[in-house]
């Protein structure tokens, strides 16, 4: 009976605005502890499977200092000790939900009972494994700061056009986390990748499951026609494989296929400037014969790679800033999708917008690792 009273007390305290412990905003919920705390959707989704042996779950209860103190008094040794560490600051019920959600996830993976869209995008895996992993990098390693997120439409299709850099396409992954976490509607980004991405084992699997697809007209238009948020990096390998000395200088955009796709589908173009990716793996050299041997566009030499072997794969902890520029409406140009002049002009306009913002955002950053 005593336990029931405790729960009630807690509930009452949560409702009381004067209690400082109760005022935990969603923003605070995304504090550095976030990676181990399931998002509200995860919990809602875990609660949505009550018929599968998972009992109905209580709503999310934010951790309170009292409970932490209470836990500290408790005995330290237990069979569940190893798992307990993760929960250090969480309240029992939340912990319970987390366990239930993880188990439900494992069950779905074991029995194949999840949905994948026709491009191979696996939202279940992305939300439960891929994004939480990337979020660690996003929050603690690169400490990404995002601005202009209101320029991404709340619904309907849009084409995010971003600069590409950093030897490995980490910027595409961070952009995915940025929009998912910072956008009020938590929209998903569907990235477009070069065919090399889909030829490589493991990489292709990861790319498809995280929502990427091949950068080709059919796929882009299909995604935009179904109201998706598509991200494209028109510099391609010229961008990621450029030497460190040319950092933040936009390379030539491709044939402008992305521009005509946006025009044809009437999707607005949102220029995106990503600062920070350039310094993750400063490319100081390129071993061309080795690249040719491996069939890769370049073989990177960075201050750490390949000298330190696998350690060289650790990105430098540069400070990242992502800015979403004002959307460019393409509907007035809808008829020009097949006119190369119109396409090139719009492409240049987008390129200029990104380049200008890149310089401005760079000025805002106090130091590379700040």
């Amino acid at each position: 009976m005593a336990e029931v009273i405790r729960l009630d007390e807690r509930a009452a305290r949560r409702g009381d605005p004067s209690d400082p412990t109760a005022r935990i905003t969603p923003r605070a919920g995304r504090s550095p502890r976030r990676p181990v705390i399931p998002s509200p959707e995860e919990l809602a989704e875990a609660a949505a499977f009550p018929d599968n042996g998972v009992p109905t779950l209580l709503p999310l209860q934010p951790p309170t200092p009292t409970d932490e103190a209470g836990r500290a008094d408790g005995p330290r040794t237990s069979g569940a000790g190893s798992v307990r560490r993760i929960s250090a600051a969480a309240e029992p019920d939340e912990w319970d939900q987390r366990v239930a959600s993880r188990l439900a996830f494992l069950r779905r993976r074991l029995t194949g009972e999840y949905d994948v869209d026709e491009f191979g995008f696996d939202p279940d895996l992305t939300d439960h494994v891929l994004i939480p992993m990337l979020r660690l990098l996003y929050q603690h390693w690169f400490r990404v700061e995002v601005s202009g997120v209101e320029n991404i439409p709340a619904d309907g299709s849009a084409l995010l056009v971003a600069n590409h850099s950093g030897t490995i396409a980490l910027d595409a992954l961070m952009l995915m986390v940025a929009v998912r976490d910072e956008h009020p509607k938590q929209r998903r980004v569907r990235s477009l990748g070069a065919d090399l991405v889909f030829r490589l084992p493991l990489v292709n699997e990861f790319a498809r499951k995280s929502g990427a697809t091949l950068a080709c007209t059919q796929d882009v238009e299909r995604l935009l026609n179904t109201g998706e948020l598509v991200a494209v990096f028109p510099e391609g390998f010229k961008g990621v494989g450029k030497p460190f000395s040319e950092r933040y200088k936009l390379q030539r955009f491709g044939r402008g296929g992305f521009v005509s796709a946006a025009m044809r589908t009437g999707a607005p173009i949102v220029p995106v400037s990503i600062v920070g990716a350039e310094e993750t793996y400063p490319l100081v050299g390129d071993i061309k014969p080795l690249a040719r041997l491996l069939g890769a566009p370049y073989f990177p030499v960075t201050p750490l790679f390949p000298w330190l072997g696998p350690l060289g794969l650790i990105p430098l902890p540069s400070k990242w800033l992502i800015h979403f520029g004002e959307p460019i409406d393409t509907t007035p140009l809808g008829d020009g999708a097949d006119d190369p002049m119109v396409v090139f002009n719009l492409g240049d306009q987008v390129r200029e917008a990104i380049q200008q913002t890149l310089y401005n955002v760079l000025l805002r950053r106090t130091s590379i690792f700040g």
């Binding site: 336990e3 029931v4 405790r6 729960l7 009550p50 599968n52 042996g53 998972v54 009992p55 109905t56 779950l57 209580l58 836990r71 408790g74 237990s78 069979g79 569940a80 798992v83 307990r84 029992p92 019920d93 912990w95 319970d96 939900q97 366990v99 239930a100 188990l103 439900a104 494992l106 069950r107 993976r109 074991l110 029995t111 194949g112 009972e113 999840y114 949905d115 994948v116 869209d117 026709e118 491009f119 191979g120 696996d122 065919d195 889909f198 030829r199 490589l200 084992p201 493991l202 990489v203 292709n204 699997e205 498809r208 499951k209 697809t213 091949l214 080709c216 059919q218 796929d219 299909r222």
Partner: protein
């Protein structure tokens, strides 16, 4: 089309010694609009296929006393089996002599019958189609042609768009024998269409068949206890329920839907997901090792895998079916449903069934809660002691 005109239809079906050919012939024969069906193959149907053809339909029983193709065997009362080789020009005599108005070409083989090799399969597929089309071209009464094709026509490559529409041209010529046959067959069909523009030509690009009764290389693959997959690839797959293949073929014969159509179940299953749904365990093997494993399986007679099937298992293939759904007003059951039907029908019992996994999950959750309760000394989670469970 007036009812009289409809009821006088004579349909020739090739490839009836195979399951799909037999069910198509039987289904068409049972339709009141069809007077008779001429079932053609190089060898007489056996077993299940024969039983299907022999089953007389209500409507067929009502008809009697019709002329026959010389040398034919009556099966069900309005189906006649003609043992003829479509690679032989004699097929023209059968078509002209019977007054056939519709030719349904189901004799396109995905895998050679046991004993005969790839050369025989290719000859039957390619030369057979050539001869059959040549015969149709000469036969005036023929006004409809339905050809079984395959989504293998698109080939398999990582440089292709994620979803093929009927208009997508393959990036590179497929390397598998069957897929090459399909490309050639479709080429001949286009040639025929040009020469006989007044004939309605329907080309059905079927996704791989699956279903409770289907017995194909794929169903045998998914029945292996450990299913080898390519390491680092988890291809998207689409299947077609065999019953839907029958339905779409039947509709193509009974109504006019000229054109090329992708026929597949909506939605996608990842290979790993499909294996899990079948209660099997994936065994990732490096792609190079997979070719070796496939040739070993082929030699040992375990599974006969062709190169294009192997490519399919590495890169997968997804097609757009909106043209079919719009034109036929028919939506084949989804890939996931078709696959689940296969799992149920083949009774793939395994330790890793959804019920068992859910039970284990339940027990684990309970154990963890109990451990924590004894540790914290207070009820935990939604199932506080004495509290009812939803």
């Amino acid at each position: 089309m007036s009812p009289e005109a409809v009821s006088s239809r004579i349909v020739l079906v090739t490839g009836v010694s195979r399951h799909l050919g037999a069910v198509v012939a039987a289904r068409i024969a049972a339709d009141p609009g069809v007077e008779r069906v001429i079932a053609v193959d190089t060898k007489p149907p056996e077993g299940e296929a024969a039983a299907l053809l022999r089953e007389p339909s209500e409507h067929a029983r009502a008809r009697s006393g019709r002329r026959r193709v010389p040398g034919s065997t009556a099966l069900a009362s309005n189906i006649e089996f003609v043992r003829a080789d479509i690679r032989n020009p004699l097929i023209a005599k059968v078509i002209v002599g019977s007054g056939t108005d519709t030719v349904v070409h189901m004799g396109v083989l995905a895998s050679a019958a046991t004993g005969s090799g790839r050369a025989a399969e290719k000859e039957l597929n390619v030369i057979g189609t050539m001869q059959l089309l040549a015969a149709c071209q000469k036969a005036e009464p023929v006004r409809k042609l339905v050809v079984k094709s395959s989504v293998a026509a698109y080939g398999v490559s990582p440089r292709d768009p994620a979803i093929f529409t009927e208009d997508t041209a393959p990036r590179e010529l497929p390397r598998g024998g069957y897929a090459k046959d399909i490309v050639e067959i479709e080429g001949y069909v286009r040639g025929f269409q040009r020469r006989r523009g007044e004939v309605d030509v329907t080309v059905l690009r079927f996704a791989p068949f699956i279903g409770s009764r289907a017995d194909t290389t794929l169903t045998r693959y998914f029945s292996l206890p450990l299913v080898p997959t390519a390491l680092g690839y988890d291809p998207r797959m689409q299947f077609l329920h065999a019953d839907d293949a029958l339905e779409v073929t039947h509709r193509s014969v009974m109504a006019d839907h000229p054109g090329v159509y992708n026929v597949a179940g909506d939605g996608v299953l990842l290979l790993s997901q499909a294996i899990r749904r079948a209660g099997r365990t994936p065994l990732p093997v490096p792609e190079i090792g997979l070719s070796g494993a496939a040739s070993f399986a082929k030699r040992s007679g375990l599974i006969d895998f062709s190169l294009d099937q192997l490519d399919f298992l590495v890169h997968g293939r997804v097609v757009d079916t909106s043209r079919l759904i719009q034109e036929y007003g028919y939506r084949p059951r989804s890939t996931a449903d078709a696959f689940d039907d296969f799992v149920r029908g083949h009774n793939l019992s395994s330790m890793i069934s959804p019920d068992n996994v859910a039970a284990v999950e339940h027990v684990l959750l309970d154990q963890i809660r109990q451990a924590r309760e004894s540790f914290l000394g207070e009820p935990v989670g939604a199932r506080a002691r004495g509290g009812g469970e939803a």
